[in-house]
Symmetry: C2
Subunit: 123 residues, 2 copies
């Protein structure tokens, strides 16, 4: 009988296997970009999924984190049964200098222009 536990092996591309196309695709979704912006504000820290107060279902949230992980944008690790997430900034900056910062700046500029704010963070 299967259990409700997720598979314990989480696939991540090695730094040299990260590709620009999947990274841009991962960042092109507004919900995923929100996640990345929130993580970038807490540099180096790890966040559980529930940290991000996202206007989507849990399964959609899981999907978005998987896209971010499989593209190489973030790293997910288990701490007990919780997945913790951290931005792979060192890998991205080494491969694509300035790219992540310019995307974050563009997102900030657009949010200012449109009067959007990052959602309040969960507990």
């Amino acid at each position: 009988m299967s259990t409700a536990t997720s598979p314990r092996v989480l696939n991540h591309p090695a730094r040299e296997d990260i590709r620009l196309g999947p990274v841009l695709h991962a960042l092109s979704d507004p919900v995923r970009l929100r996640i990345v912006r929130a993580m970038a504000r807490g540099a180096g820290e790890e966040f559980s999924c529930s940290y991000f107060a996202l206007p989507v279902t849990k399964s959609t949230c899981t999907h978005h984190f998987r896209v971010l992980r499989e593209s190489g944008v973030l790293r997910q690790t288990y701490q007990g049964t919780a997945k913790m997430n951290s931005l792979r900034r060192a890998d991205l900056d080494a491969l694509f200098p300035g790219l992540l910062d310019s995307v974050l700046a563009a997102a900030d500029a657009q949010a200012d222009r449109l009067g959007e704010e990052l959602p309040a963070q969960g507990g």
Copy 2:
């Protein structure tokens, strides 16, 4: 009876309607990124579709140019029956300073790393 002529009205977002998500999505596809890289090397010039020697069918090529146009990455205009394409660099740079340059630099770095070259240009 319909003719083979494409509709003559080509929709473009105004500068203020260009959004980061669709721009990143447009740039996330390898073929579209090739087109943008080739155009960026000829700053300000206009190119016909046939300029780009792309390994895709004509209808796929048309699709890619439409995605680039509708996201605001390039402008398409008719000159006679030919569509000419130009990068909307001024609009993109005004909205998202440094973004296009960092994506182009990232694409160059990746191509160098993987030993890829831009395709030979058509006639």
